[in-house]
Amino acid sequence: MNLNSPSSVTELLRVYGGSDPAAAKAAGNSLRRRVHEAARPGARGEAQAVSRELAAFIGPDQPRHVRADALRYLGFVGGRSEVGAIAAQLTDLDVREDARLALERLPDRSAERALRDALKTVPADYRPAVEQSLRHRRRKWREVGIAS
């Protein structure tokens, strides 16, 4: 596979989680380019397609670094369709912070609702973290004015 040519995000994520470090690094670099290209202004269709592929790699069957980076990228490119899957990770100790940070950034109001709902499901000691994300999200959205 030529990792510098357009290829599926799914394939890149597989290689990124693989055992060949050079191939994983090249895949990681290509993944970054693919995600941000898909999130460019006016390319919502591409962003949705990439988000669907990313969301398939955030579950516990994947290596932690793959889950963490897929969640991070979903914060930039994800939408309403992925919010539920991301929020489900808030109860997984391995990646709950990565999921929370993704929801804090993700530019759709459904992410805010998911964080609010999570206050009822996450352990009590983690609620302050979720509340912090809600506060920061509301302030940031007000200042930056991103439509959501």
Partner: protein, 433 residues
């Protein structure tokens, strides 16, 4: 490090140390919140490895670092009294007897610590780069103003007499109209080590080292010096020494208050091996308007053969050009600029009037501002404006497309994803406000 203290300052400092050891804040001896001219400014140092260690004073009241080895080495440099040692900077901020703190941690801590220090009533000297994100720079500036604190950024080119000479030459029109400035700099460091996670060594608080940054397992190539070569912490030379280079350019080009739009493009190559993830090579171009000029960061650029050096910049005017090497404590320029005298009524760049090397002059300017209430030569708002260029350049590189940043609105124009990068969500419990 020896400190060029006057006899009065020395006696004042030691007398305060013996008579009132860390009980009475010096500020109560003068105007509220400000030490008088002869009062001791009680300083604590946070982050004391690398450049951070240079800020330790003979009478530092407290030292803080997440690494016991740094604390042990730093304590030996304090010769007046015994400094309290902490691994959590918040314990320093709790102390009412401390007037001011220096921050020499990795970059991802600068803004949090500076904001929290201002909130706790401390003046701040924070190492460059000012901050990691636009949101952080704004928060630092707001905190400095709200709490009326002197916040100096450690880009000491603004205290370097050679950079001043170059500034005097350019700002008095000797190059004519400058349309282009090209910075050259060596590439980011590389490694062939893939960074298999390792046990955290005894004495290092890795969770505190990471602080607000997202979790990553420990590896010695992350802490300490090499944090520079990771997107999550240092973001490469462009935001590291680039902060110095960009600061000098901004000074010479009278660009500190530029509030127009900047169009930025960034190209380069990714690293193909090893744990470091910042680009292998990088070329960033910023286009300013009214006046129109272009700034280039080139890694690796080509040193100007007329006056080669490891890093520097060439200023191209319509009458002449000028080379300025370095721009931190070390700086050099051409004889024509060094020999130039400001004409009557011409522009004379400010240099804090004390005989000391640039880094110490920069610190002395900060102490003076703590006493007088003036703004430091590298006030946090200037530092924020300068590092904004590096932050925007890195965002353009990550996105792989040109971006337009509005320096007045402090956000990108027409690019929602770029605006998502104005801030970086923090790990719990860290927050800016």
């Amino acid at each position: 490090m020896s400190e060029p203290l006057s006899r009065r300052e020395f006696l004042g400092g030691t007398a305060a140390a013996f008579a009132l050891p860390y009980i009475l804040p010096s500020g109560v001896l003068a105007a509220p919140g400000r030490p008088g001219a002869n009062d001791r400014i009680v300083v604590a140092n946070i982050g004391i490895g690398g450049m951070g260690s240079s800020h330790i004073r003979p009478d530092s009241a407290a030292l803080c670092d997440v690494d016991d080895a740094h604390l042990a080495a730093g304590a030996k440099r304090v010769t007046v009294g015994t400094p309290a040692l902490y691994k959590d900077y918040r314990r320093i901020l709790d102390r009412k007897d401390i007037d001011a703190v220096t921050i020499g941690t990795p970059d991802h801590w600068h803004a949090l610590m500076a904001v929290h220090a201002c909130q706790a009533g401390k003046h701040v000297y924070s190492e460059k780069p000012t901050c990691k994100t636009i949101e952080e720079g704004r928060a630092m500036t707001n905190a400095a103003r709200r709490y009326d604190k002197a916040v100096q950024i450690g880009a000491q080119g603004r205290s370097n007499p050679v950079a001043r000479d170059a500034c005097r030459y350019v700002r008095n029109g000797m190059l004519g109209t400058v349309k282009r400035v090209e910075i050259w700099h060596p590439v980011n460091f590389s490694t062939t080590d893939w960074g298999v996670p390792q046990p955290v060594p005894p004495g290092l608080d890795w969770d505190m080292w990471l602080g607000p940054a997202r979790y990553s397992p420990y590896h010695p190539l992350k802490a300490h010096f090499n944090f520079r070569w990771f997107w999550d912490y240092g973001e490469g030379f462009i935001r590291d020494r680039g902060n110095h280079a960009l600061s000098v350019v901004s000074w010479l080009m009278n660009n500190d208050d530029y509030k127009g739009k900047v169009v930025c493009t960034a190209t380069g190559t990714d690293k193909t091996e090893g744990i470091f993830d910042v680009p292998a090579t990088m070329r960033v171009e910023w286009k300013f308007a009214k006046p129109d000029w272009t700034l280039v960061w080139d890694q690796p650029g080509t040193p100007n053969p007329r006056m080669p050096g490891e890093w520097g910049a060439t200023y191209y005017g319509d009458k002449d050009d000028l080379i300025v090497l370095g721009g931190d404590g070390g700086c050099d320029t051409e004889a024509k600029a060094k020999n130039f005298q400001t004409p009557p009524g011409g522009f004379e760049p400010y240099l804090f009037p004390v005989e000391a090397d640039p880094t110490e002059r920069h610190r002395q300017n900060w102490f003076d501002c703590i006493r007088t209430g003036k703004r430091p030569v590298m006030d946090v708002e200037i530092g924020y404006r300068v590092v904004t260029l590096a932050i925007v350049g890195n965002i353009a590189y990550k996105l792989g497309r040109a971006v337009t940043f509005d320096m007045a609105a402090e956000k990108f124009v027409g690019d929602d994803e770029a605006n998502l990068m104005l801030s970086e969500p923090y790990r719990f419990p860290w927050k800016l406000s």
